[in-house]
């Protein structure tokens, strides 16, 4: 009897979904979808004029078919997305593998909080989706021409995301990071891109165009290239970077910088915050020397280092000046200072938005040239001559 009851209970537990198919109007089968009925959306673009325009692009299929682009409009993002699902005739758009969100300038200027909110509530889309901003343009052309191209545009955006920390030009923040920054500091930086004509006719290219600054969710300004690099330096976002210096005698020296690390140190006097020290540290490796001087000479290395330090300081200072000018701590300097001296900084935390624009921020850099790989001395182009008096080469 016990066994029969047990078996009946198991059967009921398994069959209950079928029995409940009509109950309460909703069933688990709303979630049922076969995998071949899905259209994987890799990039989503949002524009806004009078209405919200949503453009979605699938990636290259496994069979090499070209990406598919779909577009719909609506009064809100939710309405446009809903229209998109209804109008997709062949397959259902599926957003769990969406890698990038591309916002047109107009959509960003109107405010992105609603979009982040929508995607945050969406079960399918992940919070680590990268965000791009189109400078001087809309998202739709980027998606149509670049992402929807036969080479698969999501690769281009993925390449940019990987490449930016190597060039120090910027970084791609995720939806989560953007939202956290907005919540924490009232502002956030979003990587901007720009469409440029390509080499071939009718071809377009995507180039990084600095950061867009969001204040309370709305786009208010763009940073220049130098300011954007400065942001990356100050936020420890530079993994490696190529720089060119000279040897003072007309020779060029190319360098590969290692990871750039910046420490923000608050300086207090009589309990009050008087200054922030931004201490930048990095290492440099010589990758090419078109010079007659050898890197073994400390003076040469010192000169190289000082040039790199000067460049890094210039960029960082440009970013700080811009942030102070705008009155927005998009560099998260306050957060960094709070981590260093939490108790003392707490006194100034509430008034930070007022304190920051007027605060003295001293940027210093220290770079050390640590290796020149497999060439100790550069090629001289002739026999080495020694100075008869000094004996130097």
């Amino acid at each position: 009897m016990r066994g029969r009851r047990y078996a009946a209970a198991c059967l009921a537990a398994v069959l209950l979904p079928g029995l409940c198919s009509g109950c309460a109007g909703n069933t688990v089968y709303t979630q049922l979808r076969d995998v071949e009925s899905l259209e994987l959306v890799r990039t989503v673009g949002v524009d806004r004029e009078e209405q919200v325009t949503v453009t979605v692009v699938t990636g290259l299929s496994a069979g090499g078919d070209a990406p598919i682009t779909l577009q719909e409009q609506g009064a809100t993002l939710a309405e446009a997305m809903h229209m998109l699902e209804q109008s997709a005739s062949r397959r259902r758009p599926f957003y769990s593998h969406t890698e990038y969100l591309v916002l047109g300038q107009s959509a960003a200027e109107a405010g992105i909080l609603g979009y982040l909110d929508y995607f945050g509530r969406m079960l399918e889309m992940r919070t680590d989706t990268g965000v791009y901003l189109v400078r001087d343009g809309d998202a739709a052309p980027v998606l149509h021409s670049v992402c929807g191209g036969k080479d698969g545009g999501d690769r281009i955006l993925a390449f940019l995301k990987e490449d930016l920390p190597r060039t120090g030009q910027g970084y791609v923040a995720t939806c989560l990071e953007t939202a956290v920054s907005l919540e924490r500091y009232g502002c956030a930086l979003v990587m901007a891109i720009r469409l440029r004509p390509g080499e071939e006719p009718d071809a377009v290219q995507v180039r990084p165009a600095g950061f867009g600054v969001l204040e309370n969710g709305r786009l208010t300004a763009f940073l220049s290239d130098a300011e954007s690099r400065g942001v990356c330096v100050l936020q420890n976002r530079v993994r490696e970077m190529a720089l060119v210096t000279d040897d003072g005698q007309g020779g060029k020296i190319s360098l590969q910088l290692g990871p750039v690390r910046t420490a923000i140190v608050p300086v207090f006097a009589n309990g009050a915050l008087v200054r922030l020290d931004a201490q930048i540290r990095s290492t440099a490796n010589i990758t090419e020397m078109a010079s007659r001087r050898s890197a073994e000479d400390p003076a040469v290395r010192a000169r190289i280092a000082s040039q790199v330090e000067e460049q890094l300081t210039k960029w960082a200072q440009a970013a700080v000046d811009c942030a102070q000018r705008m009155g927005l701590d998009f560099l998260a300097l306050g957060g960094a200072a709070a981590r260093k001296a939490p108790v003392r900084f707490a006194a100034v935390q509430a008034a930070w938005p007022e304190v920051f624009p007027k605060l003295d921020v001293a940027v210093t850099a220290q770079v050390e040239v640590i290796r020149s790989y497999d060439m100790d001395a550069p090629l001289s182009g002739g026999p080495m001559r020694r100075n008869a008096e000094t004996g130097e080469a």
Binding site: A13, T30, T127, L176, V180, E183, A338, R339, P342
Partner: protein, 363 residues
């Protein structure tokens, strides 16, 4: 060689620990973060003292038990038959409400994270039926199942938390200073509330074999491991999502797991973890149904108390369908009703009954 229905302390501990983990996903990390912000991951450390106090009171109370007795029988002995039955009935009614609420929350969690637009009746019904099947048999069957399932669940959780480490950001976890102390102490309340659920094991101590008593050192060791796990969950969630965002997200732990990467590809394994929690809910509900059946049987003087499990499950389903028709109602109950009653049971009712029993020299 037919065995009596007994369970070992280790099995009882595994069963209750799964229950605590089941409830943990509702409370952590939102409740501690609401009080302590970035420093919320220190809340379990702060909760150690009140939890230890509660545990000492509970262990002291249980020390006076005789063979086959649990908290219910002790309450009857301490307060007398009438008052004891009233207290047991109150606790049973509370557990009925709590199990109905747990069913509802479990179903809601599935609907808001995986099965959008699904039905409460299906998920709650299947979960309740499964829990009732587990609870209606011998208690040792339920406890053995928990004992086998427990290391699997903890292993999966540990692997997932470890895989989330690359997503950690120091700026989300720091700064933490002595200024956060008041917030951390307030954040200790929900963690203490959570750890106190372990105390329901006291109702089932009557099933421990004769001569087997739970040693304090073993209990504290298990609680320490539990706190370590809570700390890990809080640390990882706050470190990947930030305290600010946790306040906005409904299920922060699952959102954190959503972004876990394996070998460069995002695994999106939150669905797996969500349903893993369904299994924990099943064990917790099974335990609650069984405790209610024990209390009801004790009040009514019945011997075969497991027969009351199915009616209890049906009553819990009714409570589930009537409780919190919307997600917002559930949040309100979770934030205001549950913590208050639970803490009252832990620090008012239990010590009160213990004290009365001591004063009346019944213990």
């Amino acid at each position: 060689m037919k065995q009596k229905d007994t369970l070992t302390p280790r099995q009882l501990s595994a069963l209750l620990f799964l229950g605590v983990l089941s409830a943990a996903i509702r409370l952590l990390p939102k409740a501690p973060v609401a009080f302590a912000g970035t420093a919320a991951w220190l809340a379990p450390a702060a909760a150690a003292a009140p939890t230890a106090l509660f545990t000492l009171i509970l262990m002291g109370f249980l020390r006076g038990r005789r063979e086959g007795e649990g908290l219910g029988e002790l309450a009857l002995r301490s307060l007398g038959p009438a008052a004891g039955r009233a207290v047991c009935a109150g606790v049973a009614l509370w557990l009925l409400f709590y199990s109905g609420f747990t069913l509802r929350v479990s179903a809601e969690r599935l609907l808001s994270s995986i099965y959008k637009s699904g039905g409460v009746l299906l998920f709650a019904g299947v979960t309740a039926a499964t829990a009732a099947v587990l609870a209606a048999g011998t208690l040792r069957g339920l406890a053995r199942t928990a004992e086998v399932f427990f290391p699997l669940a903890v292993t999966v959780l540990t692997v997932v938390l470890a895989a989330a480490v690359p997503n950690l950001k120091a700026e989300y976890l720091l700064p933490v200073s002595r200024l956060d102390l008041p917030g951390v102490l307030r954040a200790a309340l929900p963690v203490t509330n959570l750890a106190g659920l372990y105390g329901y094991a006291g109702f089932l101590t009557g099933y421990l074999p004769p001569g087997r008593r739970e040693r304090s050192r073993a209990v504290f060791r298990r609680l320490a491991w539990g706190f370590a796990l809570f700390t890990a969950i809080l640390f990882m969630t706050v470190g990947t999502l930030s305290a600010e965002m946790i306040g906005h997200i409904h299920n922060p732990v699952f959102t954190m797991i959503q972004n876990v990467h394996f070998y460069g590809d995002t695994a999106h394994i939150d669905a797996l973890i969500v349903v893993l929690w369904v299994a924990m809910d099943v064990f917790w509900l099974g335990t609650l149904f069984r405790i209610q059946a024990e209390l009801a049987g004790l009040i009514a003087g019945l011997r075969r108390r497991n027969r009351l499990v199915w009616p209890t499950a049906a009553a819990a389903m009714a409570v589930c369908l009537l409780t919190g028709p919307t997600q917002f109602d559930l949040t309100r109950i979770s934030d205001r009703v549950i913590p208050g009653v639970q803490l009252a049971l832990m620090f008012v009712v239990l010590p009160g009954v213990y004290l009365v029993g001591k004063l009346r020299k019944r213990l």
